[in-house]
């Protein structure tokens, strides 16, 4: 049975036009029941809908903003910002080394939601002043809220509603947090291919580490920290859907890109590594990146290290 996240089903956007599509509550409930998840079906059955059984878009938007606000709390507690900078800092150092110190760079956060990462980077200035920060998401309500939050605090970043690969500007680095497990099968490879085909120099996507502890930890953590049942449900399903190290490296193996995994299962304490990134860099960036990372570069491995007998798995 496939694991389905409620939030994927109740907000459907046309990827080409960005337009919000109506979602019938009964259809979602039936889909969840057929996937063997009666609890999720009950949560959706309790959401408000109009006479035509279409989910109330305003209520769904409020719910999504509420759940994402609580999710931000988890990111804060797990110090996601610091985790990212631990990798992105050396990555931008390597890029500056190659491209020249006086360059202007652009980080694009794909599926930015409420834009916590982008706003945190803007508030801390962790990547330096010459990195433009853009968050992109297909959910218009989340983008509007991210923009409101950024403006309320006077942060130097911006948010765009739409497809991250259709931006008029060239991204230097694409990043994301908690997005990869939403792509299944060929869509995962297509996601990486789109970035390899762009003019970006690198990508760095953080997602839940697929360990045996992940679903248990996710249950405990979401139970302790989140109030709405939708957030609790989707938090555990996300951990169940997390991609293995092998799957990520295989999918990220696309022409023009050197795929690397930071802190794979065998090299890290599963209690400490809740999220870890898969990176894709232009091959000429690997040496400067390893140099910039110093001793931490030991945790950066390619498929050849993972497939070696007795290596990190």
């Amino acid at each position: 049975m496939p694991h389905l996240e409620i939030s994927d089903l109740i907000t459907v956007t046309d990827p080409l036009s960005g337009a919000r599509l109506p979602v019938r509550r009964g259809d979602v409930v039936r889909l969840l029941q057929e996937s063997g998840d009666p609890r999720a079906a009950r949560i959706v059955a309790g959401l408000p809908a109009g006479r035509d059984d279409v989910l109330d878009p305003l209520a769904v938007d409020r719910l999504m903003i509420g759940v994402h606000t609580e999710m931000q709390r988890l990111s804060e507690e797990l110090r996601i910002g610091e985790r990212l900078v631990h990798v992105l800092g050396p990555l931008f150092e390597a890029i500056r080394e190659i491209a020249g110190r006086r360059g202007r760079f652009r980080l694009v956060d794909i599926g930015s939601g409420l834009g916590y990462l982008v706003r945190w980077l803007a508030a801390t200035g962790a990547l330096g002043p010459n990195v433009e920060l853009i968050g992109v998401d297909l959910d218009a309500a989340l983008v509007a809220e991210a923009d409101r939050l950024a403006r309320a605090e006077g942060l130097d970043c911006r948010f765009v509603h739409g497809n991250a690969f259709d931006l008029p500007e060239i991204a230097t680095v694409y990043v994301s947090t908690g997005v990869l497990h939403h792509f299944r099968g060929p869509a995962l490879t297509e996601f990486f291919e789109a970035q390899a085909d762009s003019q970006a120099l690198a990508f760095c996507h953080f997602d839940i580490a697929a360990t045996r502890l992940a679903p248990v930890g996710a249950w405990m953590f979401h139970r302790a920290r989140m109030r709405h049942p939708l957030g609790r449900h989707d938090g555990v399903v996300s951990a169940l859907r997390a991609h293995t190290d092998d799957t990520l490296l295989r999918a990220a193996t696309v022409p023009g890109i050197r795929p690397l995994l930071y802190e794979p299962r065998g090299l890290s304490n599963p209690f400490c590594t809740t999220l870890r990134p898969v990176l894709g860099i232009r091959p000429y960036l690997e040496d400067p990146l390893r140099l910039a990372m110093g001793r931490a570069s030991r945790r950066l491995v390619g498929a050849e290290q993972l497939s070696r007998p007795g290596a990190a798995r």
Partner: protein, 170 residues
Amino acid sequence: MNPVLPLLALGLLDAAFSGFRAYAGRDARIRKHRAVVRAALRGLAVGAVLLLAPALTAGAVLLAADDPDRAYGVLADGGVGFLVPLGLYALAVAVSLLAYFALPFRASTLAMVVGLGPLTLARPLFVAVACAGALVAGGGWTSLLVGAVAGAAVLCVEPFVHRRWYAMPL
């Protein structure tokens, strides 16, 4: 040992943390130290009022007792039994918090995953264990009554503050 002051201190500290938890996850801004302090103070204020309930219950027990001195002794014994599990719980929280704030991000995650998260979930359980501790320590039904009222009071702080001030995202 008179357990009143340590119990009061623990109760008020717990109320301040409850205020924080009631607020946490409701404010997506990045810089929010003042809002955190305000939420903790709200929890503290609500906790101070709600903790009058066990104090009044204890007072009523003493007023109704034939032998107030003996009744006070029994309550004190029960209070010590109530304090021990809560003291251990507070110690575990303090160690986890120290680890969370002092250690690098990887190790601080460990403090969160194996410490603070489960301890938050186990809070009502520790209150129940404390009530049992009051009985085991020879506090009788009067200590159990006061302990149960105190436990209910501290457990009510978070939902009250949440509904009063943080029902919707800020």
